[in-house]
C-alpha cells in the first residue's frame, strides 16, 4: 500500500513520522516479490536497502527507495547494461548522478532491466529477457529505460532513474503511463553511465507525477568536473514551477498533420484544447519533417556506438566480444561501416549537417512559441515479440522524439489518454529550448492537474 505513494507523499509522510522506513520498504519489497518474477523489472536488488535508509530521514529525499536503470555504474553493485558482456561487472566507482542521488538521501533499491546497452525501444534486446508492461502484460513497456518505467507503473519503487539518447526515457514513460523527463543534454552528468551515443546521452527521472520529476531533477542536475559536456548553468529549484499554470503562454502544436499519425491525432487534438481552457494560446504549426531524424539518429548513434563499445575487450572487466547480442553486433558494425574511409562524408557528415537544420528549425519556432507539443509515440505500446526481424524498430517508434534529442532539447512525456479496453496509455511530449526544463515542468504540471489521466493524481483527488 505505501509503495503506491508518490515521491512527494513518501518524503512528507516519513518526515512527519506518519510512516516508518520499515513499513515503506516492506511495502515495496512485497510489491517486488509479488511481481518481479512475472514482469522482469529488476535484474539486481540491493541487499537490505532499508538498513541505510533510516539514517537518511533528515536529508531532502529522506531515504526513499529509487529504482535505477542498470547502465548507471553503482559502487559495489552489479551493473550489466542488460548485456552478458558485463554479467559479472561490479563497478569500483560510482556514477556522478548516483553520487548526487545518495547525497540527497535517495537509496538505490535495485537495478532495472533495459535494452542491452540501451539499444532499442522495447527491452526485447535485453540479454536477460524482456520486461512486460504492468498496464497490460501482453504488451511491451517500451525502452530502453523500460524496466525503470515499469517499476514506477507497478509501484515497485517510489521513483526511478533512466537515461535517454533519443526517446529512451519518454517513450517507455508514455507506454507505461508514467512521467518521463529528459533533461537538456549536459544538465545531468554522464560520468559513470555506460556510454551509448555520447553526444546525446542524458540521464533523467521517471516518476509518478510531474512534481516528483521536478524534485528528483533538483538533486541529480548540475555541472560535473568529470564530464566536460555538463553546462555551467545554475540549477533552479524546479519545484517552484509546480502550480504556476499556463496563462498567457504560447504553445505550438507540431506534427498534427503528419502522415501515419491520424488515429493518435484524433485523440490528441482534443487534449490540446485543455491548454486553451487553462488560458494558453495553442497554434498548430509546421515543423521540419521528423522522418529525417530517423536517419540522422541512426547514423550518429551507430557511429558513436561503434566507438564507445570498442572498449569492451574482456580484459580489465566483463566478458569478451563474442557475448554481444544481435542488436549490439548490428549497431557496432553499421557504425564501423558508415565511419570508414570513403563513407564518412556520405553518411556521418551529412547526418551532422541535417542535425543543424533541425536545431535551426527549433530556434526559429522558439522565437514565437514558449513550448512545442506533440504525441510522444506514434501509437500505443506494441505487443510482445514486435521487434522480431525489425532492424529499425526503435528508430521508427521514436520518430517523434529523435529530432529534439539530437538538438539537445529538454522534454517531458506525461500520460494524456488511457484506452479503456486495453488499459494502455498515450503520452504527450512537451519540449522547450535548451536549459528550459522549468517550462516543460510548468506546462506538464498544469495539464496533469487539470486532467484525470495521471493514475496517482486521480487517486489523490478521489481522497480529497
Amino acid at each position: 500500500m505505501h509503495n503506491t505513494l508518490t515521491l512527494k507523499q513518501a518524503i512528507s509522510k516519513l518526515k512527519n513520522k506518519e510512516l516508518t522506513h520499515k513499513d515503506l520498504y516492506q511495502a515495496v519489497s512485497d510489491s517486488v516479490q509479488g511481481k518481479n518474477k512475472k514482469l522482469n523489472v529488476y535484474l539486481t536488488v540491493s541487499k537490505n536497502p532499508e538498513k541505510q535508509a533510516e539514517e537518511l530521514l533528515d536529508t531532502p529525499l529522506a531515504g526513499v527507495p529509487i529504482a535505477v536503470k542498470d547502465n548507471f555504474c553503482t559502487l559495489n553493485l552489479r551493473t550489466t547494461a542488460s548485456s552478458t558482456v558485463l554479467d559479472n561487472f561490479i563497478p569500483q566507482f560510482e556514477s556522478t548522478v548516483i553520487t548526487k542521488l545518495k547525497k540527497a538521501g535517495g537509496v538505490v533499491y535495485g537495478k532495472t532491466n533495459m535494452d542491452a546497452w540501451a539499444h532499442g525501444s522495447s527491452t526485447e534486446t535485453s540479454q536477460y529477457g524482456r520486461t512486460l508492461n504492468p498496464r497490460n502484460i501482453d504488451h511491451l513497456p517500451g525502452g530502453s529505460s523500460g524496466g525503470s518505467a515499469a517499476a514506477v507503473a507497478a509501484d515497485m519503487c517510489i521513483a526511478a532513474l533512466g537515461t535517454e539518447t533519443a526517446g529512451s526515457i519518454r517513450q517507455p514513460a508514455a507506454w507505461c503511463g508514467v512521467v518521463g523527463l529528459k533533461p537538456t543534454y549536459g544538465r545531468c552528468s554522464r560520468y559513470g553511465v555506460v556510454a551509448m551515443a555520447s553526444s546525446t546521452d542524458s540521464p533523467g527521472p521517471i516518476t509518478k507525477t510531474v512534481e516528483d520529476a521536478a524534485i528528483l531533477l533538483n538533486h541529480i542536475a548540475g555541472p560535473d568536473k568529470y564530464d566536460a559536456t555538463t553546462g555551467p548553468h545554475g540549477v533552479p529549484d524546479f519545484t517552484q514551477y509546480i502550480g504556476k499554470g499556463v496563462k498567457g503562454l504560447k504553445i505550438g502544436y507540431i506534427y498534427k498533420d503528419l502522415k501515419g499519425l491520424e488515429a493518435v491525432t484524433k485523440i490528441f487534438e482534443k487534449e490540446m484544447k485543455v491548454f486553451e481552457k487553462l488560458g494558453a494560446t495553442v497554434t498548430v504549426v509546421d515543423a521540419m519533417n521528423p522522418r529525417y531524424g530517423i536517419s540522422v539518429y541512426t547514423i550518429v548513434q551507430r557511429g558513436e556506438v561503434s566507438s564507445n563499445l570498442g572498449r569492451y575487450d574482456g580484459i580489465r572487466y566483463g566478458n569478451d566480444r563474442s557475448h554481444f547480442g544481435d542488436e549490439a553486433k548490428r549497431r557496432i558494425m553499421l557504425g564501423t561501416y558508415t565511419l570508414s574511409k570513403g563513407y564518412a562524408d556520405q553518411y556521418y557528415n551529412t547526418a551532422q549537417k541535417v542535425r543543424t537544420l533541425y536545431i535551426k528549425n527549433y530556434e526559429e519556432l522558439f522565437k514565437t512559441y514558449d513550448v512545442l507539443i506533440a504525441p510522444t509515440s506514434p501509437g500505443f505500446a506494441k505487443k510482445i515479440g514486435a521487434t522480431q526481424g525489425a532492424a529499425m524498430f526503435g528508430e521508427l517508434e521514436d520518430l517523434l522524439l529523435e529530432a529534439s534529442s539530437l538538438s539537445g532539447l529538454p522534454g517531458i512525456s506525461i500520460p494524456c489518454y488511457q484506452d479503456p479496453k486495453t488499459n494502455l496509455f498515450l503520452g504527450m511530449n512537451i519540449i522547450a529550448p535548451m536549459w528550459r526544463e522549468d517550462l516543460v515542468i510548468q506546462v506538464a504540471d498544469a495539464y496533469e492537474q487539470a486532467t484525470n489521466w495521471n493514475t496517482w493524481r486521480t487517486k489523490e483527488k478521489a481522497k480529497k
Binding site: N88, F89, I90, Q92, F93, Y185, G186, S199, K225, A228, T229, G231, P232, R291, Y292, I294, S295, V296, T298, I299, S306, G310, G314, I315, R316, Y317, G318, R321, S322, F324, D326, K329, R330, I332, M333, L334, T336, Y337, S340, Q346, Y347, N349, T350, A351, Q352, K353, V354, R355, T356, L357, I359, A391, M392, E395, L406, S407, G408, M434
Partner: protein, 103 residues
C-alpha cells in the same frame, strides 16, 4: 541521387573483423539483410539540401572546459581495485591475449 551500395558477404566479414566481432555464417547472412534495410532507410538523407550548412558535432556550444589537474586520492583505484574485475591477472598485472605471433 546516389544509389545505396550493395553489401557483399565479404564486406560484412571485413567489417566484423575491423570491429573485432566474431560472427557465424548464419549471422553473416542476417547482418547482410539488416545492413541493406538500414542503408536503404538512411539513403533518404541524400534528398535533403545541405549546401552551405555547417555540421553539428555537439549541441552545448561549450568550448575549452578546463579544470585544475589536481591529484584526487579519493578518486583513484588501488591496484587491488583496478584488478578486481579482471578474469586473469599475474603479479598485479592484467593478462592480455598474445597478438604478435612467434616465428
Amino acid at each position: 541521387m546516389k544509389k545505396t551500395p550493395n553489401i557483399t558477404k565479404k564486406q560484412i566479414q571485413h567489417i566484423a573483423n575491423l570491429a573485432n566481432i566474431p560472427i557465424t555464417q548464419t549471422e553473416q547472412k542476417k547482418l547482410q539483410t539488416a545492413f541493406e534495410e538500414t542503408l536503404n532507410t538512411i539513403a533518404e538523407l541524400q534528398s535533403v539540401d545541405i549546401s552551405n550548412v555547417e555540421p553539428t558535432h555537439q549541441v552545448t556550444g561549450l568550448t575549452n572546459i578546463l579544470r585544475e589537474d589536481i591529484v584526487n586520492i579519493d578518486n583513484m583505484f588501488t591496484q587491488k581495485q583496478a584488478l578486481a574485475n579482471a578474469k586473469q591477472t599475474h603479479n598485479g598485472y592484467f593478462v592480455v591475449p598474445r597478438i604478435i605471433e612467434e616465428k
